[in-house]
């Protein structure tokens, strides 16, 4: 048995558009050990969601894989045929999305959407049996089974997000990709949801890839962290280590920009500059135009990942 459930190696994802090629994911390497929660953080447009969708081979057109491997239990997903990928989706690797309000089909009863998911992956399961399993799963999430009769618009946002989770877990996947799962929930529902996720993680023996721009929830949940910027991984390592000692100037800036209630800050700290243009990324380190420590080499050569202490940092200061 492989101890790493997912290994992404040197992955490139490109979107050819009329003005050039958007290099959404460049040279990304990431390993998720069985049972861990990997937090994937970065600002909007840094490629973190694209990376999440890549794992299920769900790139929106015109997205294409331009190189690399995504190995699930040692098998490269990018080499699988369509049927193998369909078997993987939902059954082995499940995904939940940002907006629970729009992630359920409005025209079908919630129960029927469960039944469809179950019957897609398990031949010969009757509708009644599938509904029973759905009800059992919902009960574990604290939702009354008669909710299965309802349509999505009859439920609240938090309820729908739990339904989404239920639908993801009813087939017992071992990897859950959660793409900004709490962004559209309010703070209280978010906290409840994270507790639930933690609980389920133990119950279902889940490995989770938690994609978020919210460092708070990542700090609360993740065992490991990968920080992305401009389609590249800039820093990765154990969550505690990265939060305690951020090495990359981008990670440092990101952590520094979280407002601290204990400090008397007249103004919130921000990072100067804007995210890079991924069609024409800056030469050398993608972060150099915004970096306070920029040197000559940063403008010319892309930094490799240097091992500093117990985590990896793609910055020339450590080279």
């Amino acid at each position: 048995m492989h101890s790493n459930i997912l290994e992404i190696e040197d992955l490139h994802v490109h979107f050819p558009i009329h003005i050039g090629t958007v290099r959404a994911v460049e040279n990304v390497t990431m390993t998720i050990p069985q049972g861990d929660v990997m937090g994937l953080v970065g600002e909007s447009g840094c490629g973190k969601s694209t990376l999440g969708f890549s794992i299920l081979r769900l790139l929106r057109p015109p997205g294409e894989f331009a190189g690399g491997q995504i190995r699930y239990h040692g098998r490269d997903i990018l080499q699988m045929n369509t049927k193998e990928v369909l078997d993987l989706r939902g059954k082995r690797i499940a995904m939940i999305f940002q907006d629970p309000l729009t992630s359920l089909n409005p025209l079908f009863r919630v129960g029927d959407q469960f039944v469809e998911a179950i019957q897609t992956h398990e031949n010969g399961v009757s509708k009644k049996e599938a509904l029973q399993r759905a009800a059992a799963t919902l009960e574990r999430l604290g939702i009354a089974p008669d909710r299965l009769q309802e349509y999505p618009h009859q439920m609240s946002g938090g309820m729908r997000q739990r339904i989404m989770i239920g639908m993801a877990l009813v087939l017992n996947p071992d990897l859950l990709i959660a793409d900004e799962p709490t962004t559209s929930l309010d703070v209280i529902v978010e906290a409840q949801f994270l507790d639930l996720l933690n609980e389920l993680r133990k119950q279902f023996n889940l490995t989770i890839l938690l994609i978020s721009h919210n460092l708070g929830i990542v700090a609360q949940m993740a065992d490991r962290i990968t920080v992305m910027y401009g389609g590249r991984v800039v820093e990765s390592g154990g969550a505690a280590a990265v939060f305690a000692e951020p090495r990359h100037p981008y990670t440092q800036g990101l952590l520094a920009s979280i407002p601290n209630i204990k400090l008397d800050q007249p103004q919130l700290r921000t990072m100067p500059g804007a995210p890079p243009d991924l069609v024409h990324p800056p030469p050398g380190c993608v972060f150099h135009p915004r970096c306070a420590y920029v040197e000559g080499i940063c403008r010319e050569q892309i930094p490799p990942a240097f091992k500093v202490g117990d985590h990896l940092t793609a910055c020339w200061r450590y080279g």
Binding site: L88, K91, A94, F97, T102, N105, L107
Partner: protein, 338 residues
């Protein structure tokens, strides 16, 4: 369901003022047209005395406002009046021809949907491919082609050159429509009689007219379906369904198309008016004995009551269909509440 009933009643009541406005317009317009029923009946050279006598008989010598008033009274008694040309009740003339038109428009709509919706959905799924461009080109071209020209071309190709389908009428020479049971819908009549050779003959006669009518409108439905599908396919629940491992085709044509179909349905209700207009031309091209052709003939003869009657019937059909569409809409989409 109680709310739905209330909605249906409200909608029906709202149709009444609409009908009165329409009637008034038609009443005025037919009388503004040059000529009148008497001169079309008697020709240009009848003696003035005869003309006056005929006018008095038909009530055309009374002031317009009086004619209008008595016509409205008649309508309120649900009576469309008598033809001014023939000894015939307008209701009977329409009753004779209406089933033919309904049959034609029903099959026309069927062909529009069968051609337009799947092609539009397919084009959206394969957007920016050669197939997509091909389907969109077809959609625009077919929309621009006049109905009668398309009818003539189909008659020439399939009726004359290939000689597969008849080009006129509802039945062939060996089938006697007068022996049919009396619903007037030949497809139904022949089925009720279990006369399958006559049934086949009726269907064969329906092919060219309904294909002509159906194809003309299919262009609109291709574009409409494609546009709606493009929106729907961007929705999160489509991605979520794919992420659950459901096959692409099922996601597109079940999850996607059903959602895209809701606005298409609304459009269907509106298109019935266009379909009726198309039926008028199609009936003329194919010598189809429907109310479209009846309307045209009676316009030539300035048969005021029949013209008014046919237009009222057209309006009622359009109103009725959009009402039915609204009801289906509520049945498909659980979020719709009346």
């Amino acid at each position: 369901m109680k709310n739905l009933l209330r909605y249906v009643i409200t909608r029906t009541l709202l149709t009444i003022p609409m009908l009165f406005i329409l009637l008034t317009i038609v009443f005025v317009v037919v009388r503004i047209m040059p000529g009148d029923p008497v001169s079309s009946m008697l020709g240009g050279h009848a003696p003035q005395k005869v003309i006056d006598k005929k006018k008095e008989e038909l009530g055309l010598n009374r002031p317009l406002i009086v004619q209008y008033g008595s016509y409205l009274l008649q309508i309120c008694r649900l009576d469309l009046g008598d033809s001014m040309i023939f000894k015939q009740k307008v209701m009977d003339a329409i009753g004779d021809k209406l089933p033919a038109t309904i049959e034609l428009t029903f099959f026309g709509m069927l062909i529009t949907l069968v051609v337009g919706v799947p092609l539009g959905a397919y084009a959206a799924d394969k957007r920016r491919s050669a197939q997509d461009y091909g389907i969109r080109l077809y959609g625009i071209v077919i929309y621009c082609i006049p109905v009668y020209w398309l009818g003539l071309m189909l008659q020439m190709i399939f009726g004359i050159w290939l000689d597969i389908f008849p080009i006129a009428g509802r039945t062939g020479g060996h089938v006697f429509a007068s022996t049919f049971e009396q619903t007037g819908f030949y497809v139904l009549d022949t089925l009720l009689m279990r006369d399958f050779s006559a049934f086949g003959d009726v269907l064969v006669h329906l092919v060219l007219p309904s294909v002509t009518l159906g194809l003309t409108l299919s262009g609109i439905f291709i574009r409409l379906t494609r546009a709606n599908m493009l929106d729907v396919l961007k929705a999160d629940y489509i991605l979520a369904a794919e992420a659950r491992g459901i096959g692409h085709r099922r996601v597109v044509y079940k999850h996607g198309l059903l959602n895209a179909f809701v606005p298409i349905l609304t459009m269907m209700g509106l298109q019935v008016a266009l379909l009726m207009a198309g039926a008028l031309l199609t009936e003329t091209t194919f010598s189809w004995p429907g109310i479209g052709r009846l309307l045209l003939e009676r316009i030539y003869q300035r048969d005021y009551p029949t013209i008014q009657g046919v237009i009222v019937i057209f309006a009622i059909i359009v109103a009725l269909v959009s009402l039915v569409v609204d009801i289906i809409y509520a049945l498909i989409d659980p979020r719709v509440r009346y």
